[in-house]
């Protein structure tokens, strides 16, 4: 059984973002990067499924610049068996269809039984790479998966999708299929020292992406700080304790909550 896991490198959650000189993306040169959160859970679920099954191969696929190798190396250290790196320098200029198309071309011949992806990226958050990819590969998909019935794995797989407001629904899919995984589906493992050593010997296949022009794609014309919808009174002027004192005063006099 072969599972391909799509993983993306994104800006660190806590990074201070600066808008780039062309005002079309952030300046990525000097900020910390990390694996997209839900992609980490997608990998974890793939590893657990392989372990439950007792056989199989987990292949990581990353589209991005050379620096995205750190995402791949981390995934290999956690237990992925090998990796495919679709090398694209300015991945943030690609539209979701272009990204999915380049990945489809890179993995089609792998004929995986399952493809897992995070449900959305924490940078552009298009939230559709997985779905578009499934359509391009001609396989069914399910999004926002919060549990996998590992024991059910055979010709088909039973998964639980998250619906809104605390509702859930189980579906059974014929394989091959693609699922987008929700953060929090399980506890992510750390890479062991042994895993880090073993990763050095694992294969990383580089693919030069033939990115096709896509006339119907969306293009970012400008990025900017969000417009504020509310006038926020900032209290304490950077001093948290002073802010707390002022807040209690406001809660008393303006909000009348005390």
């Amino acid at each position: 059984m072969k599972i391909i896991v799509l993983m993306k490198q994104v800006a660190n959650k806590d990074a201070v973002l600066r808008i780039g000189p062309d005002e079309k993306w952030i300046n990525e040169t000097d900020i910390a990067m990390q694996t997209n959160e839900s992609d980490g859970y997608a990998l974890e679920e793939a590893l657990r499924l392989k372990e439950a099954r007792g056989e199989g191969e987990v292949v990581v696929c990353t589209l991005g610049p050379q620096s995205a190798k750190s995402v791949i190396k981390d995934a290999l250290a956690r237990g992925a068996d090998r990796a495919i790196h679709v090398v694209v320098d300015d991945a943030n200029k690609l539209s979701p269809y272009q990204i999915a198309k380049a990945i489809a071309d890179a993995i089609r011949e792998e004929n995986a039984d399952l493809v897992f992806a995070g449900l959305q990226s924490d940078d552009a958050s298009y939230g559709q790479t997985g779905v578009v990819l499934a359509e391009l590969l001609g396989i069914p998909h399910g999004t926002i998966v919060i549990e996998v019935d590992r024991g059910s794995l055979g010709e088909s797989l039973r998964i639980k999708r998250e619906l809104e407001s605390g509702w859930y629904q189980w579906f059974t899919y014929k394989l091959p299929a693609l699922f987008t995984i929700q953060s929090g589906i399980s506890q992510i493992r750390y890479a062991s020292l042994k895993g880090i050593m073993a990763a050095k010997k694992k294969e990383i296949r580089e693919v030069t992406a033939a990115v096709e022009a896509f006339a119907a794609g969306q293009t970012i014309s400008k990025v900017y700080m969000p417009l504020k919808t509310k006038q926020t009174q900032i209290l304490g002027n950077g001093d948290a304790k002073a802010g707390a004192v002022e807040l209690v005063e406001k809660l008393k006099t303006e909000v009348r909550a005390i």
Binding site: L17, I26, Y97, D122, D123, A124, G127, Q128, V131, V132, E135, P140, H141, G142, T143, I144, R161, E162, S165, G166, W167, Y168, Q169, W170, F171, T172, A177, S183, G184, F214, A216, G217, Q218, T219, I220, S221, K222, V223, Y224, M225, P226, K228, K230, T232, Q233, I234, L235, G236, G238, D239, A240, K241, G243, V245, L247, V248, L251, V255, A257, I258
Partner: protein, 322 residues
């Protein structure tokens, strides 16, 4: 023409579809087009009359026995045929979990791309400039779409007001759709264990996010809640870690609340959290990152360490109450 998706579960309307109608009417007014609603259903859908009471050119029932329960395969097939039969310029939907699941698939079939989770738009030279939130709410991006119609757009919940959708009277039409193979089978939707607390009735809520760092530190938040007579709630990662039960989760996959006072401790303010609490009377945010999106909707903010602010808050509240 603009097609609007009407989402329902067993013919019970998902109210965000009214927001989609309002969005389509607004775009229609700007671009000189009429909107038509599309209801995928098995047949005599009781929703039809309700939707026909809006200012729409028509209501189209996409009809098939296979549209009783939602599956992405059946919905994609139905939409493909409705679009081919009607040739719309735009397809407008609310960005719900169901729409996220099937809409990109439909767009792909037409060699198009969905612009998803849009928060506002403006018309420029007969086309739309669409704004999305990126980087977990820290930045906005204006986008344009190339190529020819149809264009697929989904709007974030709350981007339009459902009660502002204009009323009218629309003709009803049925399109019989052929659904091909459905490669997934659905079980009945269900709710996880019944909620033991009903936060929708809380007057004051103290909510904690990942900034609380550890389960032990929840005690501090609880002390603040006690001092205020508040209920404790949380963002998703706190419940994912099982530091608090899932019925304390606020947001799109948890509870939607509107207390008089909502105090967010170490919560960044991701849209999925905000949709669950933005209608609170007064919102207070304590966060060490002055650019956290939670401050965009906060009435009062403290930019700083919650572990410095909260003990002082508790002290001062006790003093004020004494």
């Amino acid at each position: 023409m603009i097609l609007v998706f009407i989402e329902h579960k067993n013919c019970v309307l998902n109210k965000t579809s009214l927001e989609a109608i309002a969005a389509a009417q607004a775009i229609g007014a700007d671009l000189g087009m009429k909107a038509a609603a599309v209801i995928p259903c098995t047949g005599e859908c009781p929703l039809v009359q309700e939707i026909a009471g809006y200012d729409l050119e028509k209501v189209i029932v996409a009809k098939s026995d296979k549209l009783g329960t939602y599956t992405p395969d059946a919905y994609a097939d139905a939409w493909e045929q409705v679009i081919k039969a009607t040739n719309p310029q735009y397809i407008v939907m609310s960005h719900t979990y169901q729409v996220r699941d099937f809409a990109p698939k439909v767009a792909t079939r037409f060699g198009r791309e969905l612009v998803g989770d849009v928060i506002r738009y403006r018309a420029e030279g007969g086309k739309l400039v669409l704004t999305r939130r990126i980087f977990l709410g820290k930045l906005d991006a204006d986008l344009t779409v190339g190529g020819d119609a149809p264009y697929f757009v989904t709007f974030q919940s709350g981007a339009f007001r459902g009660d502002s959708a204009a009323k009218g009277s629309a003709a009803v039409e049925t399109i019989d759709v052929n659904i091909g193979e459905i490669r997934m089978t659905a079980e009945e939707p269900f709710q996880e264990a019944k909620a033991s607390v009903d936060l929708t009735k809380s007057e004051v809520i103290v909510a904690v996010g990942r900034g609380i760092k550890s389960q032990e530190n929840l005690a501090l938040a609880q002390q603040l809640a006690d001092a205020l007579g508040a209920d404790l709630a949380a963002s998703r990662p706190i419940c994912d870690n099982e530091w608090l039960p899932i019925d304390r989760q606020i947001g799109s996959s948890g509870q939607t609340v509107a207390p008089k006072l909502y105090i967010a401790l170490g919560i960044s303010g991701a849209i999925q959290h905000i949709v669950g609490m933005k209608n609170s009377g007064t919102i207070v945010a304590i966060n060490k990152d002055g650019e956290a999106p939670i401050f965009d909707i906060a009435d009062y903010g403290i930019v700083g360490d919650l572990f410095e602010a909260v003990p002082v808050l508790i002290e001062e509240i006790k003093k004020a109450r004494a």
